[in-house]
């Protein structure tokens, strides 16, 4: 896409892009290239001297069972967050699209969590599920469930999944609602006249027409689970117990900030960069296809 009508100036466009370029170079390219550079280096314990070690940091990472475990944890966590978040929001959006009375009230309640910071969402759910005083813990105890996420890894994982999904429902809900409202009513009516009931229409018309939205949300939710849930995890489990909720981005933070292993942490950053670039590429291919469609 290009504009037909443009202005001419030898210097003005450079002045206009200068602020953004300056910020991008100083706060993006400089640190990003440093991350790549550090990832090939080994620093001594005091951070004074460092030597070039080539791919050693990467080799060490892939030989480290904790790192591989963190990969697995991230995969389980992000898939659980993405699929359950999408399923719940799709159900709610389909219902909200159907009702007329009270639609605004439902919508207002359902979009509230979008405004809540991930870290605060983590604190709220950690409080509800607190091992000794939590109100949900109390109910669970009544049902004979021994709930203590501070000790039990599975329960810790469940807690961070619930908090992350809760926070993300609003976002998915709004996109599904927008998607549902853009489906032509005539299609639905034609199917109804031909005798297709609500569930038949849902599976054969609504679901296929929503598939671009669903796919988009899948990518966005996975990216969300990869990065933005840092706040949820740091405010609740801090990666524990015993690494049960240590997702990749948390490990980058932990190794780099808490354990001061700059080389290892930077190597992890570089690997994460590749994952994000791959995800973005998938997303862009999908967008191109949608344009053709």
């Amino acid at each position: 896409m290009e504009k037909r009508v443009t202005f001419r100036s030898a210097w003005l466009p450079y002045v206009l892009v200068a602020p953004q370029l300056a910020i991008t170079v100083v706060f993006f390219f400089w640190p990003a290239s440093q991350a790549v550079w550090f990832s090939f280096q080994l620093q001594d314990a005091f951070g004074i001297a460092s030597e070039f070690v080539g791919l050693e940091n990467f080799k060490a990472l892939f030989a480290d069972p904790h790192y591989l475990q963190s990969f697995k944890t991230t995969a389980v966590f992000s898939l659980a967050v993405a699929t359950s978040g999408i399923a719940i929001s799709l159900l709610l959006a389909t219902m909200a699209d159907r009702v007329i009375r009270g639609a605004l009230a439902y919508k207002t309640v359902l979009i509230w969590p979008y405004a809540v910071a991930p870290a605060v969402a983590g604190v709220l759910w950690a409080f509800l599920f607190a091992p000794s005083i939590g109100i949900i813990t109390y109910v669970l105890k009544g049902m004979g469930v021994d709930w203590n996420w501070i000790i039990q890894g599975d329960q810790a994982m469940l807690l961070v999944i619930i908090a992350s999904v809760w926070k993300q429902i609003s976002y998915n809900f709004l996109f599904f609602l927008a998607g549902l409202q853009s489906i032509p009513k005539s299609l639905i009516e034609a199917a109804a006249i031909d005798g297709a009931g609500p569930s038949r229409r849902f599976w054969t018309i609504v679901i296929p027409l929503l598939s671009p939205t669903t796919f988009f949300l899948l990518v966005v939710n996975i990216v969300y689970a990869f990065f933005e849930t840092f706040g949820v995890i740091d405010a609740t489990t801090q990666g524990g117990p015993a690494g049960a909720t240590q997702i990749l981005v948390y490990k980058v933070y932990y190794d780099g900030v808490k354990a001061a292993d700059i080389g290892g942490s930077s190597a992890q950053s570089v690997i994460l960069m590749f994952i994000v670039i791959a995800l973005t590429a998938v997303q862009f291919r999908f967008i191109e296809r949608k344009v053709q469609y």
Partner: protein, 282 residues
Amino acid sequence: MVEKRPLLDLFAHAVLVLGAIVVAFPIYVTFVASTRTFEEIMQVPMPLLPGEHFLENYAQVLFAGTTTGSRAAVWNMLLNSTIMALIVPLGKISISILSSFAIVYFRFPLRNFFFWMIFVTLMLPVEVRIIPTFQVISNLGMLNTFAGLTLPLIASATATFLFRQYFMTIPDELAEAARMDGAGPMRFFWDVVLPLSKTTMAALFVIQFIYGWNQYLWPLLITSDESMYTTVIGIKRMIVGGDAANEWNLIMATAMLAMLPPALVVLLMQRWFVKGLVETEK
């Protein structure tokens, strides 16, 4: 609606009510906890109706913080969060509206190269490059400053994209007419492009305000000085240990205060918010 199905309608309402209850429950419990005393919350099960210590708890956190965890006053954190949540959208909007204007309305050498440079930033969230960005900020002496808090978050391409997309839809005739009347590019920018972009700016503002307000990892690294804490960080600093060691009533009051401003922005600017959300992510 296509057909009358009273049972299905009932089911729809039931699902929505259930969903709304599940979504609202944590917020309700937070509110209840913020109006109770520490001892009342420590009962198992804790009471589920609001208590009488609303003013007491909120005054305590606003002016004195907690007693067991961080003692920083929350009003100052709210102020910091507000400043940060304003600088991020305003900074992003102003630098990116200028650069996308240049990229759309001028032909100049390196134009595509610049565009791609900005574009690449989309791919790497701050979370991925925390350590080196932290070192850059520390080298520049920007730890514990608003510049350090906000500048790395401003370096992002989302707004540039949105403006570029929007500018492409502005009819060429407008630029032609402006040129014919002898208006220079900046005159055209101020008198035509800027007024036309108002809705886009409003939508971006809402999204980025929430983004700035809810930042966690970055302020956690950059602010070691209590006077620079943002509200979200403040909550984290109030949590010091096991269940009984935390003053949950005060923490929950702070959580309410941390949620309120972005929630108000979302609810009051719902129209722009939805538009901004659906469009920025395209």
